[in-house]
Amino acid sequence: MGKILKMVAQRLALGLLTLFVVSLIIFLAVLLLPGDLAEAVLGQSATPETVAAFRRELKLDLPAYTRYYEWLAGFLQGDMGRSLANQRDIAELIGGRLANTLFLALFAAIISVPLALSLGVLAALYRNSLFDRTINVATLSSISFPEFFVAYILILFFAVQTGMFPGISNVGDELGLWERAYRTTLPAVTLTLVVIAHMMRMTRAALINLLASPYIEMANLKGLTRWRIIVKHALPNALAPIINVVVINLAYLVVGVVVVEVVFVYPGLGQLLVDSVSKRDVPVVQASAMIFAATYILLNLTADVLSIMTNPRLMHPK
């Protein structure tokens, strides 16, 4: 057990270090700007006085390391500064939207994970059958589709032609869970279609890899049913790679929401990020980028730790 703890601790330390470096990059990216932020945001017409005032307000007159320290300390305490575009408090701006984004990602995960796993197991079970080949071509194609293509096809069929679901997901705080889920159905299904292919293919590949090993052949010769071999013998050993791919896809979901949120005008963090990028509202972009990156890194870290903890060789050392 000591070995596992040590490996997990190592990963956690590495993850924290990565988070720190990433926060540094996100903050320092602004220094790439030719001239500085004040000139870029205010444009050509700005007078020297307004530029100076703007600099003072953003504390651009302080050295970069002081600003970084203050930014990070504020961020960790939930104080993310003010938006350049409308002077609103960023934490307030982000709060509800983050919850919406997580709701959408979670909804998509609840549909896609069980579906992808069972399709993957079925494809491995009936390998090289018509079902397997159809799924193979279908997933290869769906990986190649841009998200907005999938989204608009769904809107065309389910919102415009049949009117079953709303094409615009305007969720607010006052909605109940069911109404909220109903309005979020189309974006969630879009995300599902985007991530399901990768998860399913990995599940299938992991299982098929194992099916070639001698102990599976033994089980086969013993006369066990195929279903039993897959579920009882192959699956426990395939768990690590499968969990890994599931969590990595969840990480992808959190980021993949950006385009989908824009298509469905869903009031989430991705939409805020895109709006702020076009307004060049740097503090908001930095704050949302930091939240997205941190979620992504933490989920990848979880994948790492879980795949260590489900490895049978490490769990039952000789």
């Binding site: 990433v22 602004v30 190649s144 907005f148 065309l156 919102a159 094409g167 950006v258 298509v263 992504y296």
Partner: protein, 280 residues
């Protein structure tokens, strides 16, 4: 001549999916190269009212500003594919040179490059790109550079892994003992042996860059108007969907078709060169 015959034979043996993919790629390249000859109007010319329906004069109707949809689709092939292609080439140049250097030199060079790549890859690419584009603004050179650098990290990983297996071979050792220079070793010994996996990766990376660029354009942060581009064409005409008109789906479908085609060809190529497929 012998080469041509072998190529024809290879093509005849290719599965239908690969042939379909090759056909799509040739069609798109043809569209891109001959766009000015094939189209009835100019790229940014306003030729009619907004959102004209499909008909004699405008085969696929007009867009939100009254420009001919068909014309813009053809020019879109030129711009979007062109920029994606240049970006992919640049990403490969950076990634492959970095990866080979890391593998051949080893030591601290390898460590430094690998750690930089680890950090860049820890940030989701879309978020990173949005952050940098906020700062430097969305111009075409900036787009190409940002996407190429972000994407080169994946090329670096592959190039390094492949080259690692090559640099331990005897012929590289011999070349080094013979006193060949670093650059010569990379070009004459490592590169030829690393080529097949890199070529397959080129196809996949192109798809990724192409989708990435389209997504950025769709968000309004990629290729800027009035340049015709498939991603922004979807964005500009999306309102038509709510009236049950499929026109905005055409550029989106064009993107999907090309990536499907390239994926099919890459799948076949991988199968041919190394038998490297998931079921083995």
């Amino acid at each position: 001549m012998g080469n041509g015959v072998a190529l024809l034979k290879l093509l005849r043996q290719a599965p239908w999916s690969a042939r379909f993919g090759l056909f799509v790629i040739f069609l798109y390249v043809f569209m891109a190269v001959f766009a000015p000859v094939l189209t009835p109007y100019a790229e940014t010319e306003i030729v009619g009212a907004e959102y004209e329906p499909w008909g004699e004069e405008f085969m696929l109707g007009t867009d939100n500003l009254g420009r001919d949809m068909l014309t813009r689709l053809f020019y879109g092939a030129r711009n979007t594919i062109g920029i994606a292609f240049i970006t992919t080439c640049l990403a490969f140049l950076i990634g492959a040179v970095g990866g080979f250097l890391a593998a051949v030199l080893g030591g601290w060079m390898d460590q430094v490059l690998a750690r930089i790549v680890d950090v860049v890859m820890a940030i989701p690419a879309l978020i990173f790109a949005l952050l940098i584009l906020t700062v430097v603004g969305t111009s075409v050179p900036a787009l190409i550079l940002v996407i190429a650098v972000l994407d080169s990290t994946r090329v670096f990983r592959l190039a390094r892994a492949v080259a690692m297996n090559i640099v331990v071979m005897d012929f590289v050792e011999v070349a080094r003992l013979r006193g060949e220079k670093l650059w010569w070793v990379i070009r004459k010994e490592v590169l030829p042996n690393a080529l097949p996996p890199l070529v397959a990766e080129f196809g996949l990376r192109f798809c990724f860059v192409f989708l990435f660029l389209s997504a950025l354009s769709f968000l309004g942060l990629g290729i800027q108007p009035p340049t015709a581009d498939w991603g922004s064409m979807v964005r500009d005409n999306a309102t038509l969907i709510t009236f049950g008109d499929v026109t905005p789906l055409l550029p989106a479908g064009a993107i999907a078709l090309l990536t499907v085609g390239v994926n099919f060809v890459v799948d076949w190529f991988l199968h041919k060169t190394s038998g490297l497929r998931d079921e083995q």
